[in-house]
Amino acid sequence: MSGYLAMGGHAFFVWGSYAVAVVLLGGLTVWSLADRRRLRREIEARGLERRR
């Protein structure tokens, strides 16, 4: 297991790459969801009906 985590001595580079992807894509997703929720609350607060 520890041998696997070491990624053949390149742990920093391999795990670093996956960490970069998780942080950026996760961050973008969380930010987009929060933005969406905020916009919807504002729409409701202003009484702008959502056309369905």
Partner: protein, 243 residues
């Protein structure tokens, strides 16, 4: 009149687009999450090491799909730009606003993971060869697009300016793709999309394609959801403006 992508034409109507998104998005998120879990399992657990590069080949499973999606994302911006400038589709500008940060995010991941891969394998974090330089230019073109859409008080003017930038900048996409064939670069030539078929063994190719499919689903889910949000944002702006 001519109808580009006639089967998707119904989505040009914002109300119908919203109904479509509301119906599709929950299932899309579920499929995306499942594909990402499956893709990561293949990439990090079952994929074998490479005979030359050992475990660092696993960086490819993030790096290459990010490169593909950032290029496809810019092609999408150009298509939306044309659709805005020529056909004045009401949704094109909003979808471009939604898609640009997603594409920029993938471009950034491509550059950063490429750097983390280049240091142990090539011996350098960064080199100014044609492939790496044109990819960095793509990232800046995304930033320029995002900046232009927000640069004007009248959002329509920002949308037009960004659409023109997308159409001009899209010429960089084939340059990125073929840079490794046209010039001597440190970056190796294409492995998957090439004449004569992939030069990646199936045990490494399948995890790559699985990750590419999963990240494509994430890209689509993010763009659809963010476009829906952009419609809300535009409605709020219109409500604020005295008409």
């Amino acid at each position: 009149m001519s109808r580009p992508a006639a089967n998707l034409h119904f989505l040009a109507n914002p109300a119908r687009f919203r109904r479509f998104v509301a119906r599709v998005l929950p299932a899309l998120w579920l499929v995306t999450a499942a594909s990402l879990a499956g893709g990561l399992w293949l990439a990090l657990v079952t994929a074998p090491v490479d005979y030359q590069q050992g475990h660092t080949v696993r960086i490819m499973f993030v790096h290459v799909p990010s490169a593909w999606l950032s290029m496809a994302g810019y092609a999408l911006l150009a298509g939306l730009g044309a659709s805005l400038l020529v056909w004045r589709h009401p949704l094109a500008a909003l979808m471009a606003r939604a898609a640009a940060p997603v594409g920029a995010c993938f471009a950034a991941i491509c550059l950063l993971t490429g750097s983390l891969w280049g240091k142990p394998m090539w011996g350098a974090w960064w080199v100014w060869d044609a492939r790496l330089t044109s990819m960095l230019l793509l990232f800046f073109l995304y930033l320029g697009h995002i900046a232009l859409t927000r640069a004007y008080d009248n959002p329509d003017r920002g949308d037009r300016a960004a659409a023109i930038l997308a159409l001009v900048g899209v010429v960089n996409v084939p340059v990125i793709k073929f840079s490794v064939d046209w010039w001597h670069t440190l970056h190796q030539p294409a492995s998957v999309v090439k004449i004569g078929g992939p030069t990646i063994h199936p045990t490494i190719l399948w995890p790559l394609l699985a990750m590419a499919a999963a990240l494509l689903l994430l890209f689509v889910a993010l763009v659809l959801m963010r476009t829906d949000s952009e419609i809300d944002r535009r409605r709020l702006e219109l409500a604020e403006r005295p008409s």
